[in-house]
């Protein structure tokens, strides 16, 4: 497997947090119109890649919502509607705006590849992190080397897990 920037450890992992069971339902927010082809129901593999943030930092995990971490479906709906608009208000006009989310079971993601690890995060009950273990130890940091067919397949299979739904209407 290709080598790419990595970190030796991630302090965001909450080793004492509530473990994420295989049956737990997780949410991946599709916060860009470029993450989903609605007509063909195909998800962009980039939805599970590690991003470079506007701050210049490299993500070391994919942030996933934890349905169990919300008190009610209303809370889930509020989270989804507010997050989408928060990201795109200043950058896209409303006609081109699209956001949605996909759900999947934690165990299905773990089965995709043995480099995938899912851990609770410090300071959050509503989110967990999907990490990619690096061959040199530690975790991948920043965009994965997609020229590597193994990683390409992994990202594709992860994106195919999503049962995509349109996010609920924004609540004022």
């Amino acid at each position: 497997m290709s080598k790419a920037p990595y970190i030796s450890e991630c302090k965001k992992i909450d080793s004492e947090g509530i473990p994420v069971s295989d049956k737990e339902t997780l949410i991946r927010l599709l916060c860009s119109p470029q993450y989903y082809n609605e007509d063909m129901n195909i998800v962009n593999p980039d939805a599970f890649d590690l991003r470079i943030l506007n701050s210049g930092d490299y993500e070391c995990f994919v942030s996933l919502g934890r349905v169990n971490g919300f008190q009610s479906q209303d809370d889930v709906d509020w989270y989804l509607s507010s997050m989408g608009y928060k990201i795109w208000d200043d950058k896209c006009d409303s006609e081109n705006h699209y956001y949605g989310y996909g759900t999947f079971e934690c165990g299905d993601a773990r089965e995709v590849h043995n480099m995938i690890e899912i851990h609770p995060l410090t300071g959050s009950k509503s989110h967990i992190g999907l990490f990619y273990r690096h061959p040199d130890g530690g975790f991948y940091s920043g965009p994965l080397p997609k020229s590597d067919p193994e990683i390409l397949e992994m990202l594709s299979d992860l994106s195919d897990l999503l049962d995509v739904k349109k996010a609920p209407t924004r609540k004022s």
């Binding site: 470029q34 063909m40 506007n54 950058k91 997609k146 397949e153």
Partner: protein, 200 residues
Amino acid sequence: MATIDDITTVEPVDVLATIKDVLEEIKDMVGCALAAARKSLAGGALVALMLLSNSGTVNNRIIDDTIPPVEITAQTTASIRLATESEAKERLEERLSTLATLEDGWDGEAAMRPSPQTLCNARMLIEQIDDTYLGNCTLFPSNDAGIFLKGRLGNGKIMVFVNDSQMSYVIKNKSGKISASVPFTIQGILYLNQGLEQYV
């Protein structure tokens, strides 16, 4: 001696005969150069013509008035492929045009927009893959300036990633899969097409 203009203004059925004449004349030339031209023919049909050399490594240039020139190194036996526009390819071409308008930060963070060379490579990829495999495929940007081609193929699926210089792909169905990472060349696309024929 036939010229490129002569090749691109004849009816399709005559193109092959003309190309054969040209190859006969140039095959013994040292360091022969190949060219591909893209022209519209009568009736609006769009024909892409690719020539591959069997004289070792040569530098080839694609002459196209809509995309930047691309240098390709080919090491294959002579092969000629005529590709005609199809509905699927037109749809993907349109999608590619949309991706070309993306700006940095399209993901809400610091994602890079597809690079010009990547867009060019993706266009070539679309032109060279057989129409029958593209009906349920679409294109996506990647955050590192690359492009994905992803879709369903019968009872299987295809995933291709291209960037400035490289192409990686995975083709799989219930029987198995093939995958590769190759420099982005005509040879690489040929291998991809062979993989598609084998697995779909």
